[in-house]
Structure formats: structure tokens, C-alpha cells
Amino acid sequence: MTPTLRRRVFLVAAAVAGGLLLWGLTGLPDYGVYPGPYGDVLNAVAVDERKATNVVAAVTFDYRGVDTMGEEYILFAAVVGVAIVLRAQRGETEQLPDEDAADRRAPGTSNAVRVLGLALLGPVVLFGIYVVAHGHLSPGGGFQGGVVLATGALLVYLSGEYVTLRRVRPVALIDLAEGSGAAGYVAIGLLGLAAGATFLENVLPLGQPGALLSAGTMPLINLAVGVEVAAGFVLLLSEFLEQTLVLRRPGEVT
């Protein structure tokens, strides 16, 4: 189809499909009316049963923990996929002759930016760890905290310390983190089996609601997810950054 024809065909079809969607959506309860029962039951029992004050986290990592395991592996598969797809690319760019790369060197990073970036690094990493660790208590957890942690690695890059980043981010270590984050989730699931219960059963002591070490396996799963997400995003960012590796070869910036 030509672009014009395709747009016309789409607009006609989308008008019909949109009408159908609206027709179906008006069959929903009014906005603000929740029919239950799933959420109501969980809100009533979860804190007492799981000693986790954040019911969303209790659903994510306990009641529906197997969904989250699947989600974690979607991330895992996507990251491995990016590594596979960009791998050939990386191999080739690294073979580019140095003088060719030097022509297109990025403008040097000013010292102020470098200092600011490095100064922010500590708070960002701390905040990331805090978000991961408190997932079962307050909003947050491994998914959000992992992304925050990964931006820390980016700060290192932005401050012009790519060489440092390379040192901070040896490929093998990131691969190891990526693998162990994913494996950790399954291993915690197998812990349930080892204890004679079911897969992903929360078999650790639950503790008291509100305590940092409470809710049984939830903090552990959050940790595994945090490692996985952080490693995954660092890997993604650095795979996309590899191009810039050529622009900022070791020795050119420092």
C-alpha cells in the first residue's frame, strides 16, 4: 500500500474499531466504582497474612509471584536479545581504526559537569538501594530501585569517566549479575519446594509488619529483581553507548 492509501484504510478501520471499543467500554462500571472481589479480599487479608504493609508488593511478589517471575524473564530475554542484536555491531565498531575515531571525538566534558555527576552518584545509588529494600513496606521495590541504580552508572558516564565506567562495568560481571538476578528468583521459588511446600511459597519467617526484615521472602525477591533490573538496564545503556566508546577511547578524555 502507498502511504496515502494506508492512512485512508487505517482511518476508516480505526473509526469502526474505535466505535466498537467505546461500545464495549461503556459496559464497564462507572469510573470510581470497583466491583471486586479480588482486590478487596487482598486488601483485607494481605497485611495480616504476609506482614507486608504494601499490599501491591504482597501481590507482586507473593500472591501473584509467578507472574512477576515471568515479567523478570521478559526483561531478561529482551536484554539478552539486545546483546545479540547489537553484538555484531560492536565487534565491527571496535575494529574501526583509532585515527578515524579521533576525528569525531566528542567535545570534552567540563570539570563542573564531571564533579556534579560524581557528586550525585552517591545519593542516587543510596536512593536506589533504599527503594529496593523498602519495597514491601512503602512504594518501590526491585523494579523501580533497579532502574534508579542503573541511572547511577549513567551518571558515571555523563561525568566523562567512561574509562571508569568500563572499569566499573566489566562485561563478565554484568553478565554474572544479570544471570544471578534471574536465577535468584527461581532459586527462591525452589526454596519453597525444598521446604516441602509449593514453588514460590513464602516459607521464611514473616516477622512484624513495618519492619525492614519482614514479609519472608519478599525482600529477597526484591533484591534479586533489583540486581536483575539494574544489571539489565546498565547492559542496555552500555550496549547503546558502545558506539560512543569509539568516540571516547581510553586516554582521550582523561
Binding site: 469510573y31 482486590g39 501481590v59 501473584r64 529482551a78 547489537l86 512504594p139
Partner: protein, 114 residues
């Protein structure tokens, strides 16, 4: 008002698709796809919303306080993070396609190597 969030979701779903269908740049198309995806989150969270309910976090409020559905929150919060990595995979494919064709415009590489 009673259906407004649902309408917003339906609108974003179709607008995002419009963007993909008319896109002349694969990176643009990938971003449009994330708009389509966001509409499903809006829909899920809207159906789980209960007027007057608090967030389902009972750290400062006692259990039994009227709260919104925690399940839809759990379903979406993981999917948002994961969705971004899938977008990254699409972007990686787009970058590689650019490497071969020197363009990101899907209209310019429709030739088939059958």
C-alpha cells in the same frame, strides 16, 4: 466524566496505532508503540480505581481503610519496566536496520529479496 479515563485509553490506543501506520521513521514508530502500551495501563488502573480509596499501602493508615485495588497496580508496575526493555530491543533492531539500509524510513526498504 464517568467514562473519561476509558475514553482517554481508547483514544491513546488508536492515536498510537495511527502513529505507527503513518510513521516514516522506525524510532518514531517504536515510541508510538509505547503510547499504545501506556493506554492499556490507564485502562487497567482505571477499572481498579475506587473513589475515596487510598493507596493500598497500610503503613500509616490502618487495615480496613477503603483502598483501591492492589492487583491492577501489581500487574502494571512490573509491565512498565519490562515494556521499556522490549522497546530497547526494538530500538536495537532499528539501529541494525539503519546500518544495512542507511535509512530508518520503512517506505524505502520495501524491496523483497525473495
Amino acid at each position: 466524566m464517568i467514562y473519561l479515563p476509558y475514553l482517554v485509553a481508547a483514544w491513546l490506543f488508536l492515536v498510537g496505532l495511527y502513529g505507527i501506520v503513518t510513521s516514516r521513521n522506525l524510532v518514531h514508530a517504536v515510541t508510538c508503540l509505547s503510547v499504545v502500551q501506556s493506554s492499556t495501563y490507564i485502562l487497567l488502573l482505571a477499572v481498579g480505581f475506587e473513589r475515596g480509596g487510598t493507596a493500598p499501602i497500610f503503613l500509616d493508615v490502618p487495615v480496613g481503610t477503603k483502598a483501591v485495588d492492589p492487583v491492577v497496580g501489581a500487574l502494571t508496575l512490573t509491565d512498565i519496566v519490562v515494556g521499556a526493555t522490549v522497546s530497547a530491543l526494538l530500538l536495537a533492531l532499528a539501529v541494525q536496520i539503519f546500518k544495512h539500509h542507511g535509512t530508518l524510513d520503512p517506505e524505502r526498504f520495501r524491496s523483497r529479496d525473495d
